[in-house]
């Protein structure tokens, strides 16, 4: 039975080697096709997120520029100036956060440690940004809505009136909440699934840690026992020799 098992193991190694040779003969990478591969675009999760954030940051810059233009046309309108200034500040802050997220995603690609460390790094990043990510994207929707409303009022009525009652404020605030909720509903599942998958891989890596710790402590215990037994045997022999010498 044991011999059979060893033969199977040997056969597995031989087959693996055979497969390796067959693969090497069939699929050769040369410098030319490797260069072509390096010029393609990646569809990997972190890279696609990076692209989305970059595109959104550009969109925000366009919106900020729109607020500057609308302010320039309404220099006497304090409401438009104040609203634009607030939106420009919010937009700039969001762009800054997007840059931090892009840097964070970029760091995920700097592979230095082992796979376990890398998984922990990925989980940590996605967990800590699970709310920030939809929020910065939602701000674009909000800014777009404000800029669109101001422009529409400016074109249709030629005068942009300030918010006069509480109702307008509530509607605006609700829109911010709805845009955040929308972005959250769209992006949260992606992050959740990603974190779940990364966690399952990490758990899989750590699966036998308890068993190995138990084996470790067992080995230490056995080592201690062996040392103690050796000391006792040596001591016993010494005492025995001493007794024999004393008798003689």
């Amino acid at each position: 039975m044991n011999n059979n098992s060893k033969n199977t193991e040997k056969e597995i190694f031989n087959l693996w080697e055979k497969a390796g040779n067959a693969l090497n003969n069939q699929q050769q990478l040369n410098k030319e096709n490797m260069e072509t591969l390096l010029n393609t675009t990646s569809s990997e999760f972190s890279r696609s997120q990076k692209k989305l954030l970059k595109a959104d940051a550009i969109f925000k810059v366009v919106l900020i520029f729109g607020f500057i233009v609308i302010s320039a046309f309404n220099l006497a309108n304090l409401f438009v100036l104040a609203a634009s200034l607030i939106c420009i500040i919010i937009g700039t802050m969001a762009i800054k956060q997007e840059r931090l997220l892009i840097d964070g995603l970029h760091e995920l690609n700097d592979f230095n440690g082992n796979i376990r460390d890398q998984l922990e790094k990925d989980i940590q990043f996605y967990r800590s940004n699970i709310f920030k990510y939809p929020l910065v994207l939602a701000i674009s929707v909000f800014l777009f809505y404000i800029l669109g409303s101001l422009t529409y009022h400016g074109i249709k009525y030629e005068v942009i009136r300030p918010i006069e009652d509480l109702e307008d404020g509530i509607v605006l605030l609700s829109l911010l909440m709805i845009s955040f909720l929308f972005a959250f509903v769209v992006y949260y599942p992606f992050f959740r699934t990603r974190i779940k998958y990364l966690n399952s891989l990490l758990k899989d890596i750590d699966q036998d840690d308890k068993i190995s710790r138990h084996i470790d402590s067992e080995k230490t215990r056995k080592k201690r026992m062996a040392i103690l037994t050796s000391i006792l045997i040596i001591a016993g022999i010494v005492i025995l020799i001493a007794i024999i010498i004393a008798i003689l």
Binding site: L23, M34, S42, F45, I115
Partner: protein, 167 residues
């Protein structure tokens, strides 16, 4: 620019020399040509992106295993293995490796296919006869843990392989 060209040249030479690692990882983690091409592209891009962080002191092959395996583990497959019939899987495997469908190597791959993603990585490194130390460096698992896992994977592989051969 010249510096970058030099670095690229060095990178391409090293990858060309160690390309067997990529082919083996692709053969274990993909089930069709389309996925294979996708993962190959991702691995190449990730290797190139991470290359500035590669420390000369470390063995290039160990570093390559780390990056390529990590990419394979995180790669989103277009079609999951479960969606294939056994016949289609055998057909794809034979085509991918370039051997006949009746070759015993296909049975070995069918056995590896039944392992989880991390176990596949351990099996691959074990079959590549990597030391426990190297496996620890690549995966970040403790040596004793590796021993336990390898012995379990070995048993599993043997059983499934023997069963596959009987079919």
């Amino acid at each position: 620019m010249d510096q970058e060209n030099k670095m690229k040249e060095k990178f391409l030479n090293l990858v060309e020399m160690h390309q067997g690692i990529i082919h083996k990882i692709l053969s274990v983690y993909t089930y069709n040509v389309e996925d294979r091409e996708d993962l190959l592209q991702e691995i190449m891009l990730q290797l190139w992106k991470s290359f500035p962080g590669f420390r000369e002191k470390a063995a290039f092959s160990t570093w390559m295993y780390k990056v390529a395996l990590n990419t394979a583990l995180l790669h989103k497959r277009k079609k999951m293995k479960e969606k294939y019939t056994v016949e289609a899987l055998i057909e794809n495997r034979a085509q991918q490796i370039g051997l006949s469908k009746d070759d015993n190597t296909i049975s070995l791959y069918m056995a590896i296919d039944r392992l989880g993603p991390i176990d596949k990585a351990i099996a691959l490194l074990y079959l590549e006869q990597k030391s426990y130390q190297e496996i620890e460096n690549i995966l970040g698992m403790k040596k004793n843990n590796i021993g336990v896992r390898i012995s379990r994977i070995k048993d599993k592989l043997k059983k499934i392989f023997e069963y596959e051969q009987q079919l």
